[in-house]
């Protein structure tokens, strides 16, 4: 039987209208959510467990206490227990870059010793899209990036996957285990947590670990990348905005379509 580790990130979300303060979005315009891609990764792991192919699903999250609500969401959807990594040394880190995340998650994987690690393809806020593959290389695991189908048999220590390439082409690949797969949206239909699941999640173990516990050097997480500016991108188009309410605007659009000769 297999053990599956799923990386779960709480991402920052931004309202439609927002303001930038320095190199970040002003707090009052920020929300938080379970990273969309990780939601699919959790679902895939839970489905493997339900299919009898895995006996334990563990989540790991790097983040402060505030994100425990998001972690409980993953537990409510069926993960068995969770690990949250946080440390004073992480409070002041400006950009937690791919190398830093790889060091931290690598230490957790080594301690947990899973057969399969599922990560999201990317996170919705900083979108590095690189941590899963870097993690695999670091651990000596095999890997596949941008997986949108996983055969649920995993026989002979091989995962048969489809990688979603550009332009509607999928690559069929056999990946030896242990492996890290980065999971693309659409691979499954993430469930909503049931009321029973939500109640159970409150009692599931959520273990908090610091960098010392994991044997990770605080200097290693400072990262090599610094953020020096944040701004709204310049608009490249001179868009004509039709105002005056929905009906007027619809009328203007209808007129345009007739002018172009593409509407009856």
């Amino acid at each position: 039987m297999m053990k599956i580790l799923v990386t779960v990130k709480e991402v920052a979300t931004v309202e439609d209208e927002f303001e930038i303060e320095g190199t970040s979005i002003a707090d009052q315009y920020l929300g938080s959510d379970l990273n969309e891609w990780d939601d699919y990764a959790v679902e895939e792991a839970v489905q493997l467990q339900e299919a009898g192919l895995a006996d334990e699903v563990v989540t790991v999250t790097i983040g402060p206490e505030d994100c425990e609500q998001t972690i409980r969401q993953a537990l409510a959807k069926g993960a068995d227990r969770a690990i949250r990594v946080w440390d004073d040394a992480l409070e002041d880190v400006d950009v937690l870059d791919v190398g830093a995340k790889t060091d931290i998650l690598g230490a957790v994987v080594e301690a947990e010793d899973p057969d399969l690690v599922l990560t999201g393809v990317q996170s919705g806020d900083d979108s590095w899209g690189a941590t899963g593959v870097a993690l695999a290389e670091d651990l000596g695991f095999e890997w596949a990036a941008v997986v949108n189908h996983l055969e649920h048999d995993l026989e002979d220590g091989v995962a048969s996957v489809r990688r979603e390439l550009e332009g509607g082409v999928e690559e069929l690949t056999d990946v030896g285990l242990p492996a890290v797969l980065t999971i693309q949206t659409g691979i499954n239909e993430p469930r909503y947590a049931s009321l029973r699941g939500i109640r159970q999640a409150q009692r599931k173990p959520l273990d908090v670990q610091g960098l010392d516990d994991l044997g990770v050097d605080a200097a290693a997480v400072e990262g090599a990348v610094t953020l020096t500016d944040m701004y709204e991108p310049e608009s490249e188009s001179d868009v004509t905005v039709w105002e005056g309410g929905a009906e007027d605007a619809a009328g203007q659009l209808a007129e345009l379509l007739r002018e172009k000769g593409v509407a009856p």
Partner: protein, 317 residues
């Protein structure tokens, strides 16, 4: 120590456009560092590819004739060995699905920082400045790092290199450890076929996340019927199973260039825009005036699609 090594991208016998764009990005950096621009061409018909890639600004092309199709293990081993041989300051790779399948492994193996999905690059020879987006394109950020680095670049951000170059083309003598290749490509499949080809349509009525529920799709169908137009969609609609894969516009779906593209409740993530920015006229209907789709739209309506669409349908009934 000031050279740039750029990795080219090909698939099923064809070089991908980003391979010519990465020459431009690499040349710009090499001009600042005062170094040479090296290209690596790995697997496939490398001699034919190398000839095509010998464009203005390329100093050397290193070919590795090993296997036909992409294998991330072969790429990772080759690039780390090229890095040891050439000692470049920067390694550039495409931010493609395959680029993201080896570049992070190369960076980790070489103990170099990696910055992905760059849309702008500059260097003074020591500090590398990378422009990239956050929050799905809502903001751009400037990031900096010192020393050697691996960077993946977004496609269609740099112009393709042109002209004919006089690069040295040499086979690189790589040693591939076959026991370390833990994955095997067993085939390819075209998805998204079927009865409709959205890339043939003159008018596309394209629906996104703003439609909220599957039960609301019929209002889009009614509009398409009234206009005699074809329905397409952004990724989340297909992910949710509300429309089939052959309706998906974007990087992983179809590239479309209709006379009129009506984007309804579509925010305009870069992966979507890549598939429709060549449309003649783009109309965006979205309550968020800051949505990235507004940057490429010709006309915009900032009202609620649930008010606009029925009114528009009525115009043609």
């Amino acid at each position: 120590m000031s050279d740039v090594l750029a990795i080219t991208d090909h698939r099923r016998g064809e070089l991908r456009d980003v391979s010519y764009e990465i020459i431009t990005a690499g040349r710009d950096l090499a001009d600042e560092t005062g170094g040479d621009l090296h290209l690596a061409v790995i697997s496939g018909t490398v001699d034919e590819f190398a000839e095509k890639l010998d464009r203005e600004g390329v100093d050397a092309i290193h070919t590795v004739d090993y296997g036909e199709e992409f294998n991330h293990g072969v790429y990772t081993q080759t690039i780390t060995q090229l890095y040891d041989e050439l000692a470049p300051q920067y390694v550039l790779a495409p931010n493609s699905v395959n680029g993201l399948d080896y570049a992070p492994a190369v960076a980790n193996e070489l103990d170099l920082p990696i910055v992905t999905d760059a849309v702008g690059l500059e260097t003074d020879g020591d500090t590398l400045g990378v422009t990239r987006e956050m929050f799905g394109g809502k903001v751009e950020t400037a990031t900096e790092l010192e020393g050697d680095a691996v960077v993946t670049i977004r496609s269609a951000e740099w112009p393709a290199a042109e002209g004919t170059g006089d690069a040295t083309i040499e086979a690189f003598d790589v040693e591939i450890d076959e026991d370390a290749l833990g994955s095997t490509v067993t085939g390819f499949e075209e998805v998204g076929g079927g009865d409709v080809d959205i890339s043939e349509a003159d008018v596309l009525v394209s629906v996104g996340r703003g439609i909220e529920e599957e039960d609301n799709i019929p209002i889009i169908e009614e509009l398409a019927d009234a206009l005699d137009a074809t329905i397409s969609s952004s990724r989340p609609i297909v992910d949710n199973g509300w429309l089939p894969k052959n309706r998906q516009v974007g990087q992983s779906g179809k590239v479309v260039t209709p006379d009129v593209y009506i984007a309804i409740g579509i925010s305009g993530a870069v992966q979507h825009v890549a598939g429709m920015k060549g449309s003649d006229t783009i109309v965006a209907i979205n309550t968020d005036p800051n949505a990235p789709i507004m940057d490429i739209a010709d006309y915009a309506i900032h009202d609620d699609l649930f008010d606009v669409i029925p009114a528009l349908t009525e115009e043609f009934q």
